[in-house]
C-alpha cells in the first residue's frame, strides 16, 4: 500500500516538471521509436515471407544459377555459366527426384490497346511440371484456365497486369502484345503478394524460346521429390551431382540449390543483420537518453534538496526517498517510451501503406502485438529507472540537517 502511495508521489513530482526536463526523454523516444518501427516492420516482413513460403510445399527444391555474386532467376540467365537443359538431365537422374520443371524468366514490354508497360515474362512447359512452378509461386487462378498442352500464343497473366497495369482492364479473351506477337489471355492469377509474381505473364516455354531465340539456357529449375525421400538429402545429392558434372569445387559453385526452408532461413538471417544494426543504433540513443534522464534527475535532486530534508524530518526513510526518485525517473523514461511506441508503430503502418500503394500488394504488414507494445514500454521504464538510480541514491543519502540548511 505504501509502495503505491510513494509511486503516486513520484508521478506527482513529475507532473510539476518544467517542459525542459521533458526534452531530455528525446533520446529514449528516438531509441524506442527506432526499435519498435524496426521490429514491427521486420516481424511483419518475416510473417509475410514465411506465409508465402509455407504454401510452397515442403517437397519442392529450387535450383538457379548465380551470377556476379547474386542469385536470382534473372541474374541466372546472364551468368557466365548459366543452367542449361543438360543440367536438367543431370538432376533428373538423381535418386528421389520426381518431376523437374524448367522455367525461364526475363523482363519484357507488354502492349495492350496501344499502351505499353514492363512485365516479367515467364516460360513454362504446359502440363504437370507447370503446376510445380505455380505451386511454388503460390499462384492460383482467379479466372480462365491454365496453359495446356498444344497451346501456342496463349498467356496467363498476373493480377496487376489484369487490373492495374493498363487504363483498361485486361479480361479473358483479350489480346496482348509481346515481342510484336499477339497472345490471347486465357487465364488470370489471383493476387500473390509480391511485385514480381503479380506483374508476370506466363506463356508456353517453346514459344518463348523461339521468340527470344534461346534454346539452351534455363533461369530456374523447380522440382519435387518422390514420396518417402528426405527433401534436404535429395537437395544435397543434387548439389553433389551438379558439382561433379559442372566440374566445380565445393564453395565455388555457380549455382544454388535451395529448399523452401532454406529460403525462409536466408531471409530471416538477412533481416537479423539489419535488425542488429538498427538495434545497435537504438541502443546508442537509449544510452544518450539514459544519461539525459540521469542529468535531469540530478538537477531535480538539487532543486528539491530542502524538500528532501523536510520529507526526512517528517518521517521518510532513505528507502522511501530512493523509491520516489526512481519511480519519477522510470516514469520519465516510460513517457518517452509510450510516445516512441506510438511513433514507431505509426512509421511501420505508414511504410505498410506506402509499400502496398507502390507495389499494389502488402509485402509488409505492420506487426502490432501486445508483447511488442508492452515490452517496449516496460523496457523504457526500466531504462528510466536505471538512469535514476545514482541521482536517487544521492537524494536518499542526504543528511537531514544539511538538506534542510540548503539554500
Amino acid at each position: 500500500m505504501k509502495i503505491f502511495d510513494l509511486f503516486l508521489i513520484g508521478i506527482r513530482n513529475l507532473s510539476h516538471r518544467r517542459l525542459r526536463s521533458y526534452l531530455t526523454m528525446l533520446g529514449i523516444l528516438i531509441g524506442i521509436t527506432a526499435v519498435v518501427a524496426l521490429i514491427s516492420m521486420g516481424q511483419g516482413m518475416e510473417d509475410a515471407i514465411t506465409e508465402q513460403f509455407e504454401s510452397v510445399g515442403s517437397n519442392i527444391i529450387m535450383v538457379m544459377g548465380s551470377g556476379g555474386g547474386m542469385s536470382s532467376p534473372i541474374m541466372s540467365m546472364v551468368s557466365e555459366k548459366p543452367l542449361t537443359v543438360k543440367d536438367k538431365e543431370v538432376i533428373e537422374s538423381v535418386k528421389g527426384v520426381n518431376l523437374v520443371a524448367e522455367y525461364i524468366i526475363m523482363s519484357a514490354t507488354v502492349g495492350f490497346h496501344g499502351e505499353r508497360t514492363d512485365a516479367f515474362l515467364g516460360g513454362a512447359s504446359p502440363g504437370p511440371t507447370r503446376e510445380i512452378i505455380e505451386a511454388s509461386m503460390n499462384a492460383y487462378r482467379e479466372a480462365g484456365r491454365e496453359l495446356k498442352e498444344g497451346d501456342r500464343y496463349k498467356a496467363v497473366i498476373g493480377n496487376n497486369i489484369a487490373h492495374t497495369a493498363f487504363e483498361r482492364e485486361v479480361t479473358i479473351g483479350d489480346k496482348i502484345t509481346l515481342f510484336d506477337q499477339e497472345f490471347r489471355v486465357v487465364g488470370i492469377y489471383k493476387k500473390i503478394g509480391n511485385a514480381m509474381d503479380d506483374n508476370s505473364i506466363m506463356i508456353p516455354i517453346d514459344i518463348m524460346r523461339d521468340l527470344i531465340d534461346e534454346k539452351e539456357k534455363i533461369s530456374m529449375l523447380y522440382l519435387n521429390t518422390k514420396k518417402g525421400y528426405d527433401v534436404e538429402k535429395v537437395a544435397e545429392n543434387i548439389e553433389e551431382k551438379l558439382r561433379d558434372y559442372r566440374d566445380e569445387d565445393e564453395g565455388d559453385e555457380t549455382f544454388v540449390v535451395s529448399t523452401a526452408s532454406d529460403l525462409i532461413e536466408t531471409f530471416g538471417s538477412i533481416l537479423n543483420i539489419v535488425q542488429a544494426v538498427v538495434v545497435g543504433l537504438a541502443a546508442i540513443s537509449l544510452l544518450v537518453g539514459g544519461v539525459g534522464i540521469m542529468n535531469t534527475m540530478y538537477m531535480a535532486v538539487m532543486e528539491r534538496t530542502r524538500e528532501i530534508g523536510t520529507m526526512k524530518a517528517i518521517g521518510a526513510t532513505n528507502a522511501d526517498i530512493l523509491f520516489i526518485f526512481i519511480v519519477e525517473s522510470g516514469v520519465l523514461g516510460m513517457i518517452g517510451g509510450i510516445i516512441g511506441v506510438a511513433i514507431g508503430l505509426g512509421i511501420s503502418k505508414m511504410v505498410e501503406i506506402a509499400v502496398t500503394q507502390f507495389y499494389g500488394s502488402p509485402l509488409i504488414k505492420a506487426h502490432i502485438s501486445l508483447v511488442l507494445v508492452g515490452g517496449a514500454i516496460a523496457f523504457s521504464f526500466i531504462v528510466g529507472m536505471i538512469s535514476g538510480i545514482l541521482p536517487a541514491k544521492q537524494a536518499s543519502g542526504l543528511k537531514p540537517v544539511e538538506a534542510l540548511r540548503y539554500e
Partner: protein, 247 residues
C-alpha cells in the same frame, strides 16, 4: 516517577571545518518532562538550532548522549531515526517548509503516507487537523496561495499528523507578524494543555517565550540559566540580544 521524555547528558556538537573547529554545543545537560513547554533563548549563533536538531534526531551529537523516552538515539541507525522522526516527533520550521507543488490537504497527509496509514483514515485525519487549525476552507490551496500565518498553521497540522509526543519548533513565529504569531502560539499552548504534547521551541521574542513554562537561556553552546517566564527581566532580554537582529 520522573516521567522524563527527553534527556541530554553532556552533549557536544563540534563542526570540524578543516582549519577551524566550531564548538556549536558544548556539554549541554537537559531534562525535559512529558507535557513540558520549554523555550530556548539565546543570541544568534549560540547553538540553539544545532541543539534542537539533535533533539529532533535530524543530527547526532559529536559527544555525549541523548535519550528519547529512555532510548539512546546515538545507538540507532538511520531507519530507526526516521521512524522516531515520523512517529514521536513533529517539526515546525521558521520557513514552514511545505511541499510547494501540492495543496494543504496533501501536505498534511504526507507524514501519514510514510507511516503507511490507510488512505481513508489519512484523509479523515488530515481534514480534521486542518479544521482544528481553522483552515477548513483552505484545504485545496497550494502553499503559495496562503498567507504566512496560514502556511504555518498547515505546517502545525502536518506536524501533528502522526500524534507526536514531542513538538519541535525552531522560531515558528520568526517570519510572522505579531497577530499571526499569537494565533500560532495559542494553538501550541492549547495542544500542550489538552494533549500534554511536549513542546520545545526556540525563539528570540520574549512575548513568545512567555507562553512556555520554563525558559532555557543558552550562551556560547552552554545552558546559562533556566528561568520562569515571570523572571524574564529587561536585563536578561538585553543580555540575550532580544529579537532585534532577526527582523
Amino acid at each position: 516517577m520522573t516521567n522524563t521524555i527527553v534527556k541530554l547528558k553532556n552533549v557536544w556538537r563540534v563542526y570540524d571545518l578543516g582549519k577551524v573547529r566550531v564548538e556549536a554545543v558544548r556539554g549541554v545537560n537537559m531534562d525535559i518532562k512529558k507535557g513540558d513547554f520549554v523555550a530556548i533563548m539565546g543570541p544568534s549563533g549560540s547553538g540553539k538550532t544545532t541543539l534542537l536538531n539533535m533533539i529532533g534526531c535530524l543530527d547526532v551529537p559529536s559527544k555525549g548522549n541523548i535519550y528519547l523516552k529512555n532510548h539512546n538515539i546515538g545507538m540507532m541507525n538511520e531507519s530507526n531515526l526516521a521512524m522516531i522522526r515520523g512517529k514521536i516527533i513533529g517539526f515546525i520550521f521558521q520557513t514552514y517548509n511545505l511541499m510547494p507543488t501540492i495543496n494543504a490537504l496533501d501536505n498534511v497527509e504526507l507524514p501519514m503516507i510514510f507511516q503507511d496509514m490507510e488512505k481513508e483514515e489519512r484523509m479523515k485525519r488530515a481534514k480534521r487537523l486542518l479544521t482544528d487549525v481553522g483552515l477548513e476552507k483552505r484545504m485545496s490551496h497550494k502553499p503559495t496561495e496562503l498567507s504566512g500565518g496560514q502556511q504555518q498553521r498547515v505546517a502545525i497540522a502536518r506536524a501533528l499528523a502522526n500524534k507526536p509526543e514531542i513538538l519541535i519548533a525552531d522560531e515558528p513565529t520568526g517570519n510572522l507578524d505579531s497577530k499571526s504569531g499569537k494565533e500560532v502560539m495559542n494553538l501550541l499552548s492549547e495542544l500542550n494543555k489538552k494533549m500534554e504534547t511536549t513542546i520545545i521551541l526556540v525563539t528570540h521574542d520574549p512575548n513568545i517565550a512567555k507562553y512556555a513554562k520554563t525558559i532555557n537561556i543558552i550562551r556560547d553552546g552552554k545552558i546559562n540559566k533556566i528561568i520562569k517566564p515571570s523572571e524574564l527581566k529587561k536585563e536578561i532580554i538585553e543580555e540575550i540580544g532580544g529579537n532585534d537582529h532577526e527582523k
